[in-house]
C-alpha cells in the first residue's frame, strides 16, 4: 500500500486560520449563552427557554416587557460597546505595534471622559454628554497625531499618548474639584464606566457607529493593517499607502472608542485585553479584528453580568469588574510570561 502525501495548497495554508474561526465562533456562542442568562436573571427570574421564546416574539406580555423594555437595551449596549472597544483596541495595538498601546492608555478614552466630565459639571444633558465624549475622543486622537508628527512611529505615538493621558487626567481631577457634590457623584459613576440604566438611546448611536465604521475597518483597512505590521518601509514597498491607511484606521478606531465611551463611560481594560486575548487564543498574526470583536462582546457582557449579580444588594459599575478582570489578567500574563522566560 502506498500513501501519496498530497501537499495542501499554499492558498489553504495562508488564508484565515481555522483556529481563528473556532475562537470567533466560540466567543460568539458564549456571548449568546451569557446574554440569555443575563436576560433571565434579576428581581424577576425568567427561565432560559422563556427568554429565547420571548426574544422570538412568543413570550407572555409580562416577559416581553421585562426583557425587551428593561433588560435588552442594556445587554445590547454591552455587546456593542464591548465589540467597539475591542475593535478600536485591536487597531491601536496593531498601529503602534505594542500590545499595551490601547486607547485607554494613550489618552483617547481620556479625551472622551474629560469632555464628558466638563458637560456633567456644567450640568448638561445626556445627549450633550454623548456628543462631548465623541468630540473629545476624536480631538485627543487628532492632537496626539499632530504632535507625534507625520511619520507617526509607534514609539513616538505611545509617548505623546501617555503624556496626553496624564494631562487629561489632571484636567479631569481639576474639574472634579470644581464640581458640586451632586454632580460629582454622577460624574464619578460615569468615570467608572457603567451600563446601569442604559436604554435604546445609548444602544442605537453605538450600533450606527459600528455599522458605518466596521465595514471600513474590516474591508478597507484590514488587509493593509496586516501588511503594516511588518514595518512602514516593507508595507510601503508592498504598495500600502501607509499615511492614508494609518490616518484612516486611527480615526476609525478613535471613533469607535469615543462612541463606546459616550454610551457606557470610559470602561477600562476591554480595549486592552480583548485583542490581546484574541491574539493569544488564535495564535495568528495581524490585528485579528473579528475574533477580537467577538471576545470583546463576550468580555463586556460577562463583566456586566457579574457586575449586576455578584453583590445582592448593591450594583457594581461594570468598569470596576472589567478593571478587576483586566488587571488580574495582566498580572497573570506577566507572571506566566516571566516564568516562560519571555520577558
Amino acid at each position: 500500500m502506498t500513501t501519496v502525501a498530497v501537499e495542501p495548497s499554499i492558498g489553504s495554508r495562508v488564508g484565515v486560520r481555522p483556529r481563528a474561526v473556532v475562537v470567533g465562533v466560540a466567543a460568539l456562542i458564549a456571548t449568546v449563552v451569557v446574554a440569555v442568562l443575563s436576560l433571565g436573571t434579576g428581581e424577576f427570574p425568567i427561565a432560559p427557554a422563556d427568554v429565547v421564546k420571548t426574544l422570538f416574539g412568543q413570550g407572555t406580555p409580562a416577559h416581553a416587557f421585562i426583557i425587551n423594555e428593561l433588560r435588552l437595551p442594556r445587554l445590547i449596549t454591552a455587546v456593542l460597546v464591548g465589540a467597539a472597544l475591542a475593535a478600536g483596541g485591536a487597531v491601536f495595538q496593531s498601529l503602534v505595534r505594542n500590545p499595551l498601546g490601547s486607547p485607554d492608555m494613550l489618552g483617547v478614552t481620556n479625551g472622551a471622559s474629560t469632555a464628558a466630565l466638563a458637560v456633567v459639571i456644567l450640568g448638561g444633558s445626556s445627549t450633550q454628554l454623548s456628543v462631548a465624549a465623541v468630540a473629545g475622543g476624536l480631538a485627543a486622537t487628532v492632537l496626539i497625531q499632530l504632535i507625534a508628527g507625520r511619520a507617526l512611529h509607534g514609539f513616538r505615538f505611545i509617548l505623546v499618548g501617555i503624556g496626553m493621558a496624564a494631562i487629561l487626567t489632571g484636567v479631569s481631577s481639576y474639574l472634579l474639584t470644581r464640581g458640586v457634590q451632586m454632580e460629582n457623584a454622577r460624574a464619578l459613576l460615569w468615570l467608572t464606566g457603567s451600563l446601569d440604566g442604559r436604554d435604546w438611546s445609548n444602544a442605537i448611536p453605538m450600533a450606527l457607529a459600528l455599522a458605518v465604521v466596521l465595514p471600513v475597518l474590516l474591508l478597507a483597512c484590514g488587509p493593509g493593517l496586516r501588511i503594516l505590521e511588518m514595518g512602514d518601509d516593507a508595507a510601503s514597498a508592498l504598495g500600502v499607502p501607509v499615511p492614508l491607511l494609518r490616518n484612516g484606521a486611527l480615526l476609525s478606531a478613535a471613533l469607535l472608542v469615543s462612541f463606546a465611551a459616550a454610551s457606557a463611560g470610559p470602561v477600562q481594560f476591554v480595549a486592552l485585553i480583548a485583542p490581546h486575548l484574541a491574539k493569544r487564543l488564535t495564535g495568528a498574526p495581524g490585528p485579528n479584528l473579528l475574533p477580537s470583536i467577538a471576545v470583546g462582546a463576550l468580555l463586556l457582557t460577562g463583566a456586566d453580568y457579574l457586575a449586576q449579580h455578584t453583590l445582592s444588594d448593591n450594583v457594581l459599575p461594570v468598569g470596576v469588574v472589567t478593571g478587576l478582570i483586566g488587571g488580574g489578567y495582566l498580572v497573570w500574563l506577566l507572571t506566566t510570561e516571566r516564568r516562560a522566560g519571555r520577558i
Partner: protein
C-alpha cells in the same frame, strides 16, 4: 522609450530628513538588467539614495523616474508591481509562518475582490523553491536562523514579481557563510530571472565580486560608477574610505580584491608573545 533611458533613474535630487540634508544635486541611473551595488562609508547617503529610489523618501528637489514617470506621482500599489524593496529592518509579525509571510508579497497584485488566485499559488511556490525555503513553509518565522529568515524575506520580495528589486544591506547580521549564500542567491536571480537588482553592501570584496555595475558614494555624492574592475581602485578606496590598501585580482573570480594595508609598525618591533 528610446532604449537609452533606463527604467529607474534619479536626477538633480536633494535628499534630506527634515532639515538635515544628506545629498544635493544627486543624479543616478540604474542600468536595466544590471546587478548594481552601491558602496560607500557609513552615513555617505547610500541607504538614503536607495530609500529615494524606492519611493520611501520624497526628494525635496529633483525627481526619481520609474518608466519615464515621477515615482511619487504614481500610486503606491502601481509602483509596488514594478519596484520591490527588501528593507534593512523588517518585523516578522508574531506567529506568522513562512508561507504566510511569502504570500504577503502578493499583496500589490490582490484586491478586496480578488484575494488568492492560481497565479498567486504558483508564484509563491516558485519563490519559496528558488530561495530554498519550501521545506520550511509551515514553520514559524521567529524560530528560524538569521540566514533562513533572510531567505524568507527574499522569497517574499521575489513573490512580488517586480522587474526591479532594491536590497538594503541584505547581508547585515549574517555570518560569512550566510552572506555568501544570500549573495549567490541574488546573483542567481539576476542571471536566471533577468531582474534588475540594486543592493547596498558594506563589504567591498562582495560588491566587486557580485556587482555588474558599481556605484561608489562619498558625502552624498557619487564619485565613481561603472564596472567593478574600472571603479574599484586603490586610489578610489583611499579617497572614499580613507583606507590605504592594495587592490589585487580575486584568485577565485578575477574581480578586484581589496587588501587593507598592514598597520604601520613603529620603529621597535613588537616582542613575540610569550608561549605559556
Amino acid at each position: 522609450m528610446t532604449g537609452h533611458t533606463p527604467r529607474l533613474s534619479g536626477s538633480g535630487m536633494t535628499l534630506a530628513y527634515d532639515k538635515r540634508v544628506i545629498a544635493e544635486e544627486l543624479s543616478v541611473e540604474i542600468p536595466d538588467g544590471s546587478f548594481t551595488v552601491i558602496i560607500g562609508p557609513n552615513a555617505c547617503g547610500k541607504s538614503t539614495l536607495l530609500r529615494a529610489l524606492a519611493r520611501l523618501l520624497k526628494p525635496s528637489a529633483g525627481t526619481v523616474l520609474l518608466d519615464g514617470r515621477d515615482v511619487h506621482s504614481q500610486p503606491t500599489r502601481t509602483v509596488a508591481r514594478t519596484l520591490g524593496l527588501l528593507p534593512q529592518s523588517s518585523t516578522a509579525p508574531d506567529g506568522i509562518t513562512v508561507a504566510e509571510l511569502v504570500a504577503r508579497g502578493r499583496y500589490p497584485h490582490q484586491s478586496i475582490l480578488r484575494r488568492w488566485s492560481a497565479t498567486d499559488e504558483r508564484v509563491v511556490t516558485e519563490s519559496m523553491e528558488a530561495t530554498g525555503v519550501a521545506d520550511l513553509a509551515d514553520r514559524h518565522v521567529d524560530e528560524l536562523s538569521g540566514g533562513q529568515r533572510q531567505r524568507v524575506w527574499l522569497a517574499m520580495a521575489l513573490a512580488q514579481q517586480t522587474p526591479l528589486l532594491l536590497l538594503d544591506e541584505p547581508t547585515t547580521y549574517l555570518d560569512i557563510a550566510h552572506q555568501i549564500e544570500v549573495l549567490d542567491l541574488c546573483a542567481e536571480l539576476h542571471e536566471r530571472q533577468g531582474r534588475t537588482l540594486v543592493a547596498v553592501l558594506h563589504d567591498l570584496n562582495h560588491a566587486a565580486r557580485y556587482a555588474t555595475h558599481l556605484i561608489a558614494m562619498r558625502a552624498g555624492r557619487i564619485v565613481g560608477s561603472g564596472q567593478p574592475g574600472d571603479v574599484l581602485t586603490a586610489a578610489l578606496v583611499e579617497d572614499v574610505f580613507g583606507l590605504a590598501c592594495r587592490v589585487i585580482d580575486d584568485p577565485e573570480t578575477g574581480t578586484p580584491l581589496v587588501v587593507p594595508a598592514a598597520r604601520r609598525r613603529s620603529g621597535v618591533p613588537h616582542p613575540a608573545p610569550a608561549v605559556p
